[in-house]
Amino acid sequence: MNTGIVRRQHAHHFATADQEFSASKLGMWLFLVTEVLLFGGLFVGYAYGKSVYPEMWHEASKHLDWKLGALNTLFLITSSFTMVMAVNAAQRNKAGEMNGKMVGYLIATIALAGCFLVVKYFEYSHKFHDGMLPGIYYTYSGVQNANAHYFFGLYFLMTGLHGFHVVVGMILLGWVLVRATKGHFYSEYYTPVEVGGLYWHLVDLIWIYLFPLLYLVG
């Protein structure tokens, strides 16, 4: 690992490095808004399903394991914390002395994301085994209520899209990690750490709503 830093000149179409930084951040926020609206469609589908089939919803959600959901919440919240600590280390990194800390926090973030996916894998394989699948693939007989395939369809869509974002986040942060080991990020340039962090926090933000909606109140 590089113990020094590699200085960076801002791109020629920006007047200053600060302008480049704030433009990147604004671009990320605009993207995050489209993400919120993408997930928003599924949340509206949730609100519709729960309003129209309240009893089925309640019964079907009992078949999700809230303990696994809570464990995953723990993983994601902790990973959000290690992510801000990585950004914090980058902000304090004057001459490479914080490189090690930054890399450590990034590795922790990616590892926690991996833990999340492992738990998700066990949840999914259990549901695949029991036939709690969306639409016409639904074969589970444990829920008395008809239409339970609607709930499990939304469950897979919401957690699946979220899980896909977790995978993308791991790839993104993996790239940030590789560059961090090369000493590319320091107090005057850490834009990828910052906007990668923003993306990661949004993944956490969405899970903060998914967890109670799917596992707890149902």
Partner: protein, 208 residues
């Protein structure tokens, strides 16, 4: 522009505002506590308050993440504004979808009875009536397990097609008349006279 922005909240050229790590630790602990709260509250059945309480706790957590971890509190206000606008449009999405779900039977009292929401409501009323030992007057639609089988469900009656029942005002206009023309206009004043022989019950409804 960005230079001015920056000198307002930082010293030096590149000094972005650095949040003390202790603040992050405090937020992390708060998020853990709120997670325990939301799980603990869910073990108690609060009835209709379940959802609002869970959403309140989730929104507190989300606000902490957005304001501190995502630094909206310390950031250029533009980023926060962009995010807020996204949330406003999301709430419009929710508002109009749910308005539709919950208000169909009020808008169309006759055919609104056959919406899923109305069937649900009737099923709940029938269930309550059964518990009270009252004979249920209306057959429910069969959307949930505690209702009768689906083959008992009768499709809604077709909308009236005979001219005497449904088409009272100008329903059978003359072929030459302009649709939607006012009674006072030239084309409209001729239309009722031509339309009258067309329908059998027309003499009764023609004055309207």
């Amino acid at each position: 522009m960005s230079n001015e922005n920056h000198s307002a909240h930082s010293e030096g050229h590149h000094g972005h505002f650095v949040v003390p790590a202790a603040a992050y630790v405090a937020v992390f602990v708060a998020l853990l506590i709120l997670t325990v709260v939301t799980v603990a509250v869910a073990q108690v059945d609060l009835g209709p308050a379940n959802m609002p309480v869970a959403m309140l706790v989730a929104t507190m957590k989300a606000s902490l993440v957005a304001l501190i971890f995502m630094q909206l509190k310390y950031d250029d206000k533009l980023n926060g504004l962009v995010f807020i606008f996204g949330l406003i449009f999301l709430s419009l999405f929710f508002l109009f979808t749910l308005l539709d779900v919950f208000s169909r039977e009020y808008i169309d009292p006759k055919y609104g009875n056959h919406t899923i929401a109305a069937e649900q409501l009737r099923a709940m009323q029938n269930k309550a009536a059964d518990k009270a030992g009252v004979n249920t007057p209306v057959k429910p639609g069969g959307y949930t397990a505690d209702m009768p089988a689906k083959d008992e469900w009768q499709p809604p009656p077709p909308p009236p097609t005979t001219p005497d029942a449904g088409l009272v005002d100008g329903g059978a206009p003359a072929e030459g008349s302009v649709p939607g023309s006012e009674p006072g206009s030239v084309a409209g004043s001729e239309a009722p006279a031509e339309a009258a022989p067309a329908g059998s019950a027309a003499p009764e409804s023609a004055p309207r």
